[in-house]
Amino acid sequence: MKISRNWLQKYFEKPLPNAEDIADALTFHAFEIEEQQGDSMDVKVLPNRAADCLCHRGIAKELSAILDVPMKKDPLREVLPEFPRTSALSVEVEDSQKCQRYMGALVRGVKIGPSPDWLCEALESVGQRSINNVVDATNYVMLNIGQPLHAFDAANLAQKDGTYKITVRVTDKVSETVDLLSVGEIIPQEGTLLITDGNSSKPLAIAGIKGGSQAGVTENTTDLIVESANFDGTMIRRTAQALKLITDASLRFQNRPSPELCAYGMRDVLSLITEIAGGEVEGVTDAYPACQERSREVSVSLSRINGVLGSDFSKEEVENVFKRLDLDTKTNGETFIVTPPFERIDLTPPAGGPEDLAEEAGRVLGYDQVPATELPPVSNEPNHARYRGIEKVKDFLVEKGFTEISTQSFAKDGEVMLANPLDKNMPALRASLDENMKKALAQAVYSAPLVFTPNEKPKLFEIGTIFTKDSEKLEVKTSEPISDLPAIQDDKNYIPQQYQLGSYQQFSVYPFITRDIALWVPSGTNASDVGKLIQNTAGELLVRTPYKFDEFSKDGKTSFAFSLIFQSFDRTLTDEEINVVIAGISEALKGEGYEVR
């Protein structure tokens, strides 16, 4: 989520550190920063905090705790006003599981127009476009405190006895079309939750995801119905995915913000709309069937916190962290009894518990304060028998000249099929390693000159899991039969061979060319000197050291035969250019007095 430093600054008297330092503070105490550009940063809010931190207020609250700088105001701690009630708007929620709260407000006499500069700038600072004052107000409040909001043009809703009616219901059995703003007409899946005009039954919006054109705000709009609601997170996520319509609103709802937040969102958006678009709030109708006061208390002792973290934090340090986080805390001896604020659903039971409070203490004080302590020794010898049994078979095969390969578990055919394969041509789990071995061997035979000497031949093995109808097992597959291959058996005493590897040298993907060169040299000439001469003359297209595959002596002369392999990292070589290289090598050899055959 994009966050602007200037916007955050509105929450503090004291000037905030620069954006880089803010990014650091967040990274090590709260959330990773994906990108930081000038005063804007992209904060990767963690899933458990997306209910309260997908907004500037949430990030400001975190910063206040991390930097230990008080906020000058916190909209979620300011007392809510008594909203005026109205009989001109009624709200009906058919399923309080799907819609936990729906607040609607009727605002009359607004004048749609451009937004003031400060508002346009604020939206632009987080990559949003200004549309008009009313739509901007709803977006601003969402980005500010996290409550998604929507405004409908009341003139497009029917009235019955002078009353507008919002009905939150699922789609009818008959396919119902909804004309969405900037998307067009769609037919949502049966069971999709809609905001509808309760008097005409016309759909106005896909609940929590996108508003419809039916009652979109236009330049002629004067009366508004403003929505501040709370919809079930799982339902919103599934619907948004089905519609391929991930919106700012759906992202927030799917993370289950508290329904309490609706009232704060309503308060702020009504105040902003009337400030910048005029009009008067006729009244607010609040359908909150799910409202219930639950105890939010969690307790944790200091010794439990230090026992989890392995730290040595004092009671005062921890108490101070809770205070900075604005957690209502009472102490009883060494025990903290914490009542998290309504928006911290991550700390509230059943999601939250003592470990969550330990985490709050650890991350705010800083994980760099947690020492690195080695584990105490264990009493029993650790169990490596299965591992050693597997590695023993590998060592056996390596000694016999086999090279280990690893291949994909997906296959064309098999006994176990995937419900959702990534590659439609590989819909099964391998039932044997045969197919992959065949392919790998063919490839290995082709590449053999690059890695083997001419008198070696590729022999491969793989140890991997295969899947049959009722079970899976580890199979050993070799590219050719081997008589005394042992079965995999637990072996607690075998010590697998250890290797050290050097840096990886990437191979070329272009074809290679092999050439042989044979020559007579005076007896006693050192073959490796000749090889070196060839290598130095051949230049960088020569891969591998020239390999001497033949040598014999006759009449006081010795014959050497070398095999050479040429390959380029950036092109396919032609015979002509290698002819030139070979001619150069011949010249050099002749220059030494050797006779090239």
């Binding site: 990274t27 709260a30 990773e32 963690l46 905090r49 799982t234 026992g307 973290l309 392995g310 518990g353 470990e355 330990a358 985490e359 994980y367 760099d368 020492p371 690195a372 302590t373 584990l375 105490p376 264990v378 650790p382 490596h384 299965r386 591992y387 590695e391 590998k394 390596v398 000249g401 090279t403 690893s406 291949t407 994909q408 578990s409 997906f410 099929m417 995937l418 419900a419 959702n420 394969p421 990534l422 490839q443 590449s447 690059l450 890695v451 083997f452 070696e456 590729p458 022999k459 899991t465 899947f467 899976e472 061979q497 250890q498 290797y499 050290q500 590897l501 840096s503 990886y504 990437q506």
Partner: protein, 245 residues
């Protein structure tokens, strides 16, 4: 001619890592790649409606709705914890190197199948702490990457741990400057996970960790593309100078 074969670099890494963790008292555990939902998700405190359970992240098995290709080797940890509860053991340390699967598009740094180095240590309450997790990784990285490495934690979130952290390591590649690399996710096992294994979270406590194995090798040896590992191509296996230790 006495031709000698070669081990795949993943095998070489698992041996080196097993040795290091073995010296810290960790055993080595294996488990099924085709896993049930309980061990892969439910028992690990990943709720039924969690996005990770959606089709786009996880491979599901046709005509067998309760089974998935494991998305992490933490499922093996769950099985070990159940074993502990059955045998009445009070402490256990294991690493679980193994193949895992994610239903995501592949590129130079992403594969739909890769190895994870997963593991855990549990003991009586107060004996295995977040500080021990740091100490374990501090030593592991020093022995695996070299003496100049450092470890740091950043806050994170996983359903099966609380607190949760990302483990970064400071690594100085030969010929290059040092940099911080994100290498693993970890944390203290969530009480619900211990409870689901039949252990008493008031008496038992521990940490768990998991991270991509290929990524460690890519950093250590300068391997440019994760897709090389399971391509079956011997040119990859022979792309390293190899020395017996």
């Amino acid at each position: 001619m006495n031709q000698r074969g070669r081990l795949h670099p993943i095998s070489i890494a698992i041996r080196e890592i097993s040795d290091i963790f073995g010296r810290m008292g960790f055993g080595i555990a294996y488990g099924p790649e085709l896993e049930d939902e309980w061990h892969n998700f439910t028992a690990l405190n990943v709720p039924a409606d969690h996005p990770a359970r959606d089709m786009q992240d996880t491979f599901w098995i046709k005509n067998d709705p309760g089974h998935v290709l494991r998305t992490h080797a933490t499922s093996v940890t769950m099985r070990s914890l159940e074993e502990m509860s059955k045998t009445g053991a009070t402490e256990m340390r294991m690493i679980n190197p193994g193949k895992v699967f994610r239903n995501e598009a592949t590129d130079m740094t992403h594969e739909a199948q890769f190895y994870q180095l997963d593991g855990f240590a549990v003991g009586p309450t107060g004996t295995v702490t977040l500080a021990n997790l740091k100490g374990t990784f501090d030593r592991f990285y020093r022995e695996y990457f070299g003496p100049n490495t450092k470890v740091r934690f950043r806050p994170s979130f996983f359903g099966f741990t609380e607190p949760s952290v990302e483990i970064d390591v400071w690594f100085e590649a030969p010929g290059k400057g040092g940099r911080w690399l994100e290498t693993a996710g970890a944390g203290m096992l969530h009480p619900n996970v211990l409870r689901n294994a039949g252990l008493d979270p008031e008496k038992t406590q521990g940490f768990a960790f998991g991270g991509g194995l290929e990524r460690l090798l890519m950093v250590k040896y300068g391997i440019p593309d994760v897709r090389l590992f399971h391509s079956g191509d011997i040119r990859f296996v022979y792309g390293f100078e190899e020395k017996k230790v």
